[in-house]
C-alpha cells in the first residue's frame, strides 16, 4: 500500500492521523481514497474542478508530481507521497 503523509495543518481533518495508507495505483486514486475517508479535506486539496489547489504541492518520493505525470503519476506499494502545504507562521 502506498503511504501518504499528512502535514500538521491538515491533520484536524484526519482525526490527527499523520499517515494514510491506500491501495490506489496513481496519485489521483490515492487522493480520491483519502477524500472518501476524510471528506473535510476536500476543499483544502482540490478546487471546484477537482484540480490540486495552488497552495498545496503533492510529492511522490522527493519529486513534485507537476514534473512527473501530475495526478496520473503512478505509485507503487512502497511509494511515499507527501502533501506539502503553504505555511506562513503564527499570524494566520
Amino acid at each position: 500500500m502506498a503511504t501518504l503523509l499528512i502535514p500538521t495543518p491538515l491533520r484536524k481533518f484526519t482525526e490527527n492521523q499523520a499517515q494514510f495508507n491506500s491501495n490506489g495505483t496513481s496519485v489521483k486514486e490515492v487522493i480520491d481514497d483519502l477524500i472518501l475517508s476524510h471528506a473535510g479535506l476536500k476543499p483544502h486539496l482540490l478546487d471546484a474542478d477537482g484540480n490540486i489547489r495552488s497552495f498545496v504541492r503533492i510529492y511522490v518520493k522527493d519529486e513534485d508530481i507537476q514534473v512527473l505525470q501530475k495526478e496520473h503519476t503512478k505509485v507503487e506499494e512502497d511509494t511515499l507521497i507527501s502533501i506539502i502545504p503553504a505555511i506562513a507562521g503564527g499570524s494566520y
Binding site: L5, P7, T8, P9, K12, A18, P43, H44, R53, S54, F55, R57, Y59, D62, E63, D64, Q66, V67, S82, I84, P85, A86, I87, A88, G89, G90, S91, Y92
Partner: protein
C-alpha cells in the same frame, strides 16, 4: 568598514579561521556581507544571534512590533526587561552586546510594498522571518525584482520548512522562488485561524538556525545551499525530508511570460482586505462594557464561548463552551428568545458562529462580543490572562 581584522576579531573568530575551507577568506566574506532580517521574532531571534555571533558585518532588522510577554516562549533575543520595548531596539542592544564588531541597522516599521525596495536595496541577502502570507509574498517578490537571495523559513506548530530562493549559482543560473512552489496563498477561510495556530517554542529555534546556516553558506560559497530544494521537518515525529523545487514557467515574476514587474497589494492578493473581511462577517455586536452592564444589571441572557476547551483552560468568563467546529450540534442548547452573547478570543470565530447559526437555524437574537475575551481582559478584568 575595513575588511582587515583586529586582534580581538581574529581571536573571536578563531574557530572559523581554523576550518581549512572556511579560513580568513570566509570570515572576510562574512564581514563584508550585508544581511537583512525581516521579522525579529521566533525565526529572527536565532538568525540574528547566530549571524551576529558569526561576524556578518552588517545586519539590518525590520520589525514594527513591541516585545510582548507571549513572545518570550520562543523569541530568545528578548528578556523580561524588554517587554513593551520596540523589538528592533531590544534586538539591536542584544546583538551589539554579543558582537561589538558588527554594524546593526534598524527599521522600526512595517515592511510594505511602498518601503520594501528602498529597504532591501543595500543588502545582499534577505532572510525571511515573517509570520504571515502577505509579507512572505512581498519578501519573495521584492527579492526576485531586486535580484536578492531569499533565505526562507516557515513554521506551524511542529512543522518547519526551509529553502533558499532566487539564488544565482556559479553558472549564472537562477534557482526557483516561493511563487514557483506556491503560486498563490490559501484563501483566508481555509488557513488555520488563531485558535488552530500556535507553535512549539523550540521549532523556530531549529528552523531559524538552519536559515542562519544557509545564509552563511550563501555568503561564503561553502557547501551546497538549499536552492532548488525544500527541507521539511516534523518536530513531533522527527520525520525529515528534502524535496526538489523547480522553476515554474508560469511564474508571473520570472517565468516564460512575466506579467508582474512591480510590487502589488499583498493584503488584497491574499484576500485579506479588511473591508471584505468585515463585510463577510457582518453580525450584530455588543462591546465588553455593555456585557459588563448586562451582568451588573442582572439581565437574563445567555453567554456562549465558541473557543476550544484548551483555550477555555487558559482563561474564561463563565460562558457555556460550544466550540465553533461543532456549533450546529449545539443549536438546541441556544436560547431562541432571550439575548445571546457569543464570544471567542478576538471576535472572528464568534462572528462565524453567528453567521452559521443565523443561516442554518434562523436565529435573530445573537450578539457578537466585540474584541472577544481579549478585549474583556484588557478593558474589564485585568486579572484575566491575555493569550
Amino acid at each position: 568598514m575595513s575588511t582587515e581584522f583586529s586582534k580581538a576579531e581574529l581571536e573571536r573568530y578563531s574557530r572559523h579561521l581554523i576550518i581549512p575551507e572556511f579560513n580568513i577568506e570566509g570570515q572576510r566574506k562574512l564581514k563584508e556581507a550585508k544581511v537583512l532580517i525581516i521579522g525579529s521574532g521566533g525565526l529572527g531571534s536565532p538568525l540574528l544571534l547566530y549571524l551576529a555571533a558569526a561576524g556578518v558585518g552588517t545586519l539590518g532588522i525590520v520589525d514594527f512590533d513591541v516585545v510582548d510577554e507571549s513572545n518570550l516562549q520562543r523569541q530568545v533575543l528578548f528578556s523580561v526587561a524588554d517587554v513593551g520595548k520596540p523589538k528592533v531596539e531590544a534586538a539591536a542592544v542584544r546583538i551589539k552586546a554579543l558582537n561589538p564588531h558588527i554594524n546593526v541597522v534598524t527599521y522600526n516599521t512595517q515592511f510594505t510594498s511602498s518601503n520594501a525596495k528602498e529597504i532591501v536595496r543595500d543588502y545582499d541577502i534577505i532572510a525571511d522571518g515573517t509570520d504571515n502570507f502577505p509579507t512572505r509574498y512581498l519578501v519573495n517578490d521584492v527579492c526576485v525584482l531586486m535580484n536578492k537571495v531569499n533565505v526562507y523559513g516557515s513554521i506551524y506548530r511542529f512543522e518547519g520548512q526551509v529553502s533558499v530562493f532566487n539564488y544565482t549559482d556559479k553558472d549564472g543560473k537562477i534557482g526557483p522562488n516561493y511563487r514557483d512552489l506556491f503560486p498563490s496563498p490559501p484563501p483566508p477561510g481555509l488557513v488555520p485561524s488563531c485558535a488552530e495556530g500556535g507553535v512549539i517554542g523550540v521549532l523556530p529555534g531549529i528552523i531559524g538556525t538552519l536559515q542562519a546556516n544557509e545564509v552563511i553558506k550563501v555568503i561564503s560559497g561553502i557547501g551546497e545551499t538549499l536552492s532548488g530544494r525544500l527541507f521539511l521537518l516534523d518536530a513531533a515525529t522527527f520525520e525529515t525530508r528534502t524535496l526538489k523545487v523547480h522553476r515554474n514557467p508560469e511564474n508571473p515574476l520570472n517565468g516564460a511570460n512575466p506579467t508582474q514587474s512591480e510590487l502589488i497589494d499583498y493584503e488584497q492578493f491574499c484576500g485579506l482586505k479588511t473591508t471584505e473581511k468585515q463585510e463577510a462577517l457582518k453580525v450584530k455586536e455588543i462591546d465588553v462594557h455593555a456585557l459588563a452592564q448586562l451582568r451588573e444589571n442582572g439581565t437574563d441572557f445567555q453567554l456562549i464561548d465558541v473557543r476550544e476547551p484548551y483555550e477555555y483552560a487558559i482563561a474564561h468568563i463563565n460562558g457555556e463552551l460550544m466550540p465553533l467546529s461543532s456549533i450546529s450540534e449545539f443549536s438546541s442548547k441556544i436560547d431562541q428568545t432571550k439575548k445571546v452573547v457569543i464570544h471567542c478570543k478576538s471576535g472572528i470565530r464568534s462572528a462565524k458562529a453567528i453567521k452559521e447559526l443565523e443561516e442554518n437555524f434562523g436565529f435573530e437574537n445573537l450578539y457578537n462580543l466585540k474584541g472577544g475575551i481579549r478585549a474583556w481582559a484588557q478593558e474589564v478584568d485585568h486579572d484575566l490572562p491575555l493569550y
